[in-house]
Each structure stands twice: as C-alpha cells, then as structure tokens.
C-alpha cells in the first residue's frame, strides 16, 4: 500500500505578525485523515483540505481520531477510481484555506475523466469544485449544433427513448411473471 503526502507542507504554523504581550495560545497540531479509492492507494489529507468535502467533513467532525487510529481506518471510497480520487485530493490540497478562483483551468479536458470526476465530486459533496466541473461539462457543447450536442452527450432520439422504454417494460413484465411463477412453485 502506497501513500501520498500532499497537504503536509502547508501544515507549518505561520509566524505571528505582532508580538503579543500575553503568552501565545498553544498551536493545535493539524490532524490528518486517510482516504482510498477503488485502487486502494491511500492518500493522507489534512482535515483543513478535507473541509471542502461536506461528506467527509461530516464524517470526521466528531471522530477525534489519533494519528494511529486515522491511519488504521482510511475512508474507503470504492466507487471512485484511484486517479479520480487523486485529482480530488490534489484540488482540495491546492485550495486548502484559500479563496477559490472563479475559473479552474486544471480540470481534465478528457470527456470520460471529467464525467467521472463530476460524479465523484458530487458524491463527496465538494460544492465549489462541482460548480467548476458542471461549467466545464456545459462548455463541452458551447457553440455546437444540436446534432453535435446529441453526439457529444449521447442523447437518444425520441424513437430511441420510446424503444428503450418499451424494452424496459417488457423486461419488467418478464421479471414479474418469473417471480409469480417462482412464488407459485414455492407454494406447491
């Protein structure tokens, strides 16, 4: 199992700008948590960076894990590809404690990656990144003709939708009939 160390460098406390007369409040050491995706690669992320994710923030807010406990209990996100989770972790680290820029130029341009990223970000509830991503998806069809939009987003025609619906109904009917037959068999 490998681990990444993004986010640790920014953990150093800033120097106070003025000399306080009373003793400075003791610095609270930054806590870290561990997450992994489908590929089981564990990422070490600071609590500050994870604040971007409403889902993870909610999960960790009352845990009070020690470093060892956190390490021993990484949060599993089996529904997220490793490379996608890496992108999310990178974004959270880059934007830790910073105002988010109006545009994010680092988002992937590759269609499949972007779609997977949107789903992951939506699941992790990272509101600002989701906004960027949705804008990026919208930009994929900017200035395109209807047929180009259909192709890019794979939008079925009415006829295709109707055929798919018919097929789904047929399948549901078959399944229901199968269940009835099975129940009748059980009753015998």
């Amino acid at each position: 199992m490998s681990s990444t160390e993004q986010g640790t460098s920014s953990a150093a406390p800033a120097e106070p700008t003025t000399a306080p007369e009373s003793a400075a409040a003791p610095e609270v050491p930054e806590s870290f948590y561990y997450v992994h995706g489908k590929d089981k690669v564990v990422h070490k992320v600071s609590a500050g960076a994870l604040q971007h994710s409403a889902l993870i923030h909610g999960m960790i807010s009352n845990l009070g894990y020690t470093e060892e406990q956190a390490k021993a209990n990484p949060f599993p996100f089996e529904n997220i590809d490793g490379d996608i989770l890496q992108m999310v972790v990178d974004w959270c680290n880059q934007h830790k404690g910073k105002p988010t820029p109006p545009e994010d130029t680092n988002l992937p341009k590759q269609k499949e990656k972007l779609f997977d990223l949107v789903l992951a970000v939506n699941y992790l509830e990272i509101k600002e990144l989701l906004t960027y991503c949705c804008k990026q998806v919208a930009m994929m069809v900017k200035g395109k003709s209807p047929e180009e939009i259909r192709e890019i987003w794979m939008i079925p025609t009415d006829a295709e939708d109707e055929a798919a619906e018919k097929e789904a109904k047929k399948r549901a009917g078959k399944e229901a009939a199968g269940e009835t037959a099975a129940a009748a068999g059980d009753a015998k």
Partner: protein, 337 residues
C-alpha cells in the same frame, strides 16, 4: 427480430437529475435552446432545470412587422437575445440582424401551422422567466386572431405604446385588454372616440396611462379592480377623483398604494374633497415631500381615513394634479429608514 437501439453507454443522462440540471443551468442560451430540441426528454430536462431568464418580451414593432421579435433578457451582464418573429417567411423580409426564429423553429420537432407559435411556445416552456411582457407598438387589423393568444394570454406586463403616439379605436383597446391578463398595464395612446368609456374589470395591480385617462369609467372602478395598487393617468375630471377617493374610504381595493392623477393647473380642493371628511395630515412636510415627487409648497395636503379599519391616506393637490398615498405601515417604515 431487430434489436432496439442500445441506450448510451456513457453520457449526460448517466448523471443523477440534480447534476444534469446544474450542467444545464451553466450552459449558454443558444446551447440550451439547441439541447432542448433534441428530444422530448431533453426539452423537459431544460424545463426542470429552471434555466433562469430575467425577462421574456414579445415585441410587435411600431410599423414594420418584419421587426417583430421575442427578446430574452438576462440581468447579470449577460448578452440578451432577440429572435426574429417576422410574419413573413420570405428571407428578404426578415431582419438579418436578429436570430432567425424561422430557422430555430425548424429545429423543434413539433407540428404547428405557424412557426411563431411553435417558437414562442417552446421559449416559454423551457425558460423560467421572472417577468414576461408583450408590447404592441402598432395597430392590428385582426388583433383577436393574433398567434400569441394561442400560446399565452397571461403576462406580467402589457405595454401598448409606440415611438409615435398610437392612434387606436375603442374596439382595439377592448380587444387588447380583454385578450390579456396582466399585473401591469402601461398604456400610451390616443383614442379616436372621446366619448368612449371602458367599463370592464382589468384585474391588474398597476394601471399606468401615459396620456389621458378619461376613457376609463370610474364608477365602481375600485370594486371592479380589487387588486389595484397603482393608478396613474392624466386629465381625469375632479369629480371622478372624488368618487375614487370615496370608493377607497368605503373599503374597496384595500391594497391600493398610490394614485397619481396629473392635470395642468391642478384640481380645485372643493371638488376633490366634496363630501369627504378630511383631517390635518399626520405626516411631516419632509415625509410628504418624500412620498410625493410632485409635492409643491403651495399645494394642499390632508389625510383621509378608510372606514373599515381607520387606515389613513395622504392626499396632496397642487398645480400639477392630485397625488394620493395610502399610508400603510410599510410605506411609513420605508420613509423613516
């Protein structure tokens, strides 16, 4: 047996509904329009996404029907869109500087006898607009046959006004007012029959008449228009204003906020307040000034009281006309803050 086409392996439709809608809300206007023409499902998706527009205005030009258009405005510094809805399908008689509504309507896969109907209906269906309006800048010979009535008769605002003074017949005015339902009517015209009186309910909140309002029958006017909040016009006879004040005192149109009735040389106090109990105003001079933009130190300011609940209205008459402000708490609170 032929297999039905397989659903897409990957695409926007794989997204959960809220995500699809967020993507749509981030799209440009024309992209949204194109997307909405792809299928019934995509059209409904745009509607569900509540793609916000500030205003949709149907504009019937002053004299050139080739300039007719629908305008979609965004109030966020974004570009507004004007789509030509010329009554001619001849390209030489269509405005080349606007988006071509005929071309766009051809993308909509629905039957229609008139492309303007199809286009207007589609725009209204897919967009959530804060304000929908229509402006009539010219006379129509057969206004009752207007294509728009088949699409909608309900607007936030109806404007009857052209660059030059619009000369209309009573029949035309009646047709417009009876065909539409709106919160606000802004009317600027000259009527041919000076004896004509409009007696039907308008059911609006604001009636702003730029010119003379003498064509309005004021008998039971507030009873006929219980939701009225603002009435503005010129040259209403003093006796009719007196009657309107009495209607308000007797409890009609409880939400009425303002009457702005203009007349050169003003109105005589004895006519306006005939048979009405007036009181010294409870407002300070400064408050009256702020309530009425037309305040004049030589004018007369009094309060009148509504019988049903004791609410006060301040009436100011001067050389410019008669100005009535219903002094509800909200208005006074705004004045004080």
């Amino acid at each position: 047996m032929e297999e039905p086409p397989k659903p897409p392996k990957f695409g926007l439709l794989k997204f959960p509904f809220p995500l699809r809608e967020q993507v749509i809300r981030n799209m440009e206007f024309m992209d949204v329009f194109h997307f909405s023409t792809l299928s019934k499902r995509s059209k409904n998706m745009v509607r569900s996404a509540k793609y916000q527009t500030y205003r949709i205005n149907f504009d019937f030009d002053d004299d050139d029907s080739s300039m007719d258009h629908v305008e979609v405005d965004f109030n966020e510094g974004r570009e507004d869109f004007k789509i030509s809805l010329s009554d001619s399908e001849d390209p030489s008689k269509r405005n080349p500087y606007r988006l071509d509504g005929l071309e766009l309507a051809n993308l909509i896969d629905e039957p229609s006898d008139d492309y303007r109907k199809k286009m207007s209906s589609h725009i209204l269906f897919i967009h959530h607009s804060k304000w929908t309006s229509v402006r009539f800048g010219r006379n129509f010979e057969h206004v009752n046959d207007l294509y728009l009535w088949d699409v909608t008769k309900q607007f936030d605002s109806v404007i009857l006004s052209g660059d030059d003074k619009l000369h209309i017949t009573p029949k035309y005015l009646q047709s417009i007012l009876n065909s539409t339902k709106a919160k606000k009517y802004t009317l600027d015209f000259k009527i041919e029959d000076i004896n004509f009186e409009y007696q039907e309910p308008l059911d609006c909140e604001q009636l702003i008449v730029v010119g003379t309002i003498q064509w309005l029958d004021t008998d039971n006017f507030l009873k006929r228009n219980p939701n009225l909040k603002l009435l503005q016009g010129k040259h209403l006879p003093g006796e009719k204003i007196n009657d309107l004040l009495k209607q308000w005192i007797n409890g009609e149109a409880v939400d009425l906020k303002e009457l702005v009735l203009l007349k050169g040389r003003g109105y005589p106090a004895d006519v306006i307040f005939d048979g009405i109990l007036t009181m010294e105003t409870k407002l300070t001079e400064d408050q009256v000034k702020r309530i009425s933009l037309c305040w004049n130190k030589d004018g007369k300011t009094v309060d009148i009281q509504r019988k049903i609940d004791g609410k006060l209205a301040t009436v100011h008459i001067n050389q410019s006309g008669c100005f009535v402000s219903m002094c509800n708490e909200k208005r006074l609170y705004k004045l004080q803050h």
